[in-house]
């Protein structure tokens, strides 16, 4: 290890970094704000998605058999559903048990003793692995012999699935916008340091430094902007998560928000990586533009 080289290199990076402190602070601040928005957004999205999934995962598909379905037909349907990889569980509810459950749910407000015979058909209670496949699974059960009709909370599923889709699309849009804005600001910062160091760069080129070597300190500078900005953002996000979030939950007791669906350390790491990556990419581009002209 050639420590002299390392020392020289770090000295150059530091020299760049401190040359234009105001601009550097602007870049770091922008990254920080970007990453705060990004982190908050990802957190909210994950929480909402978790909430939606909780609801969706409790959704059941009820498949009612025709009143004249033979036990053989019913067994065949159960077997077919058992083989279907999309289906998590199948529970058989006989007409007798169905009536008992109905009695229990209605707490006797319907006097079932008046019924001369059980009007309920046999049914299957089906849980689906991936909530987005509920409609498709329901449709395929509907087609089977001996099945009269299939019922599931259609509008709830549809709305939650639509919400998931909107969240995903809006999310990608918002994130891309954030990243582009941060990238532009970092790249302007680097452009200023490149401009301030144009004499140095031209001397480097004159004595035969490779473009890679000329680029390296600027890339590091951009990454430093990115990493410092995201670290500041992380402090703010952790503060918000530990301090503001419990207060928000207390204020909104009727919403069952479950924040544990967010992997904090992983998200932090990703945010810092994103910060470093925009920094590096932005300076790569702006130095490259200078070197080509």
């Amino acid at each position: 290890m050639d420590w002299g080289k390392v020392k020289f290199f770090l000295g150059e990076v530091l020299r760049n970094f401190t040359r234009n402190a105001g601009m550097q602070a602007t870049a770091i601040g922008t990254v920080a704000i970007t990453i705060i928005l990004l982190g908050a957004f990802l957190f909210v999205r994950a929480t909402l998605a978790g909430l939606g999934n909780d609801i969706l995962s409790q959704i059941e598909v009820s498949a009612y058999f025709t009143s004249d379905a033979t036990p053989h037909q019913e067994a065949q349907v159960r077997a077919a559903l058992g083989r279907d990889a999309r289906i998590a569980s199948v529970e058989f509810v006989s007409k007798k048990r169905g009536l008992a459950e109905l009695r229990e749910q209605t707490h006797g407000s319907i006097d079932t003793s008046l019924l001369t015979e059980n009007p309920l058909p046999d049914k299957l209670r089906v849980k689906v692995v991936d909530p987005s496949e509920v409609p498709a699974v329901a449709a395929s059960i509907q087609k089977m012999d001996g099945v009269a009709n299939v019922v599931f909370p259609q509008t709830v599923v549809a709305r939650l699935l639509a919400l998931g889709g909107v969240l995903r699309r809006v999310g990608i849009g918002v994130i891309v916008t954030f990243l582009v804005v941060a990238g532009i600001i970092i790249s302007n910062t680097i452009r200023l340091t490149v401009f301030a160091r144009r004499r140095e760069i031209s001397i480097m080129q004159l004595v035969g430094a490779t473009n890679m070597y000329i680029r390296a300190p600027f890339i590091c500078e951009g990454m430093l902007d990115g990493v410092l900005g995201s670290l500041i953002a992380l402090v703010a996000l952790v503060f918000a998560r530990l301090w503001l979030w419990p207060k928000l939950l207390l204020a909104l007791p009727w919403i069952q928000l479950n924040a544990t669906s967010v992997n904090g350390p992983m998200l932090s790491l990703e945010l810092v990586a994103v910060g470093a990556a925009i920094g590096a990419l932005a300076s790569w581009i702006s130095v490259g533009r200078h070197l080509r002209t």
């Binding site: 050639d2 420590w3 002299g4 080289k5 020289f8 020299r15 004499r199 140095e200 031209s202 001397i203 480097m204 080129q205 004159l206 004595v207 035969g208 430094a209 490779t210 473009n211 070597y213 000329i214």
Partner: protein, 236 residues
Amino acid sequence: MISLRGVSLIYPNGVRALDGVSLEIAKGDFLFLVGHSGTGKSSLLRLLYHEQVPTSGEIIVDGIRVDRLKHGRIPALRRHLGVVFQDYKLLTDKTVWENVAFAMQVTGAHTKDVMRQVPRALDLVGLAHKSRMFPSELSGGEQQRTAIARALVNNPKILLCDEPTGNLDPANTTEIMELLLRINLKGTTVVVATHNQAVVDRMRRRVVRLEDGKVVTDEERGYYYLGLGQGQILSG
């Protein structure tokens, strides 16, 4: 060592800076490139270190086909050359030592080589005792000697100087010229573009004269003006 064949350079604005220049410079030569301002001296030097690409013609520097050089090979070419300018091009926030070391450090040299070569280059130009000073604390001649040390620190075979004494008084000019001669005596090929008649006439070295981008004379042990010393011009 350096060879130009039928080299022309037309700038994008249409100026024909060089027009069919052919020139051979042998290893160990000391050559003055003279001519009025705007006759293409700087342009010719720029072609040699690939700051410009010729419009036509062939250029070979130390075995490298410069006119066909791929972009990625430019750094390798420049490590074979030292270049010195009228305005020194020193970094004002670095000391003499750091300015010279910079040329090695940015080409990835090992620290132990830097520690060995930099003092050697500074000794050669006689600035070892001022290595910790900044360019602003030096005379023009000392600044140019720093620039020469930087150009030589990577041990190039060729030293190109574009008006190296253009900003210097006669005493400093003599000092720099003697330094260049010493460097040449150690085996380095030296090309000096200048319009300083006194220097050229005193040194009596090979003189190539450009006019309107063409080589008009090429003399061993020549004068600034063809066949004539300074005194004769003045009296004639």
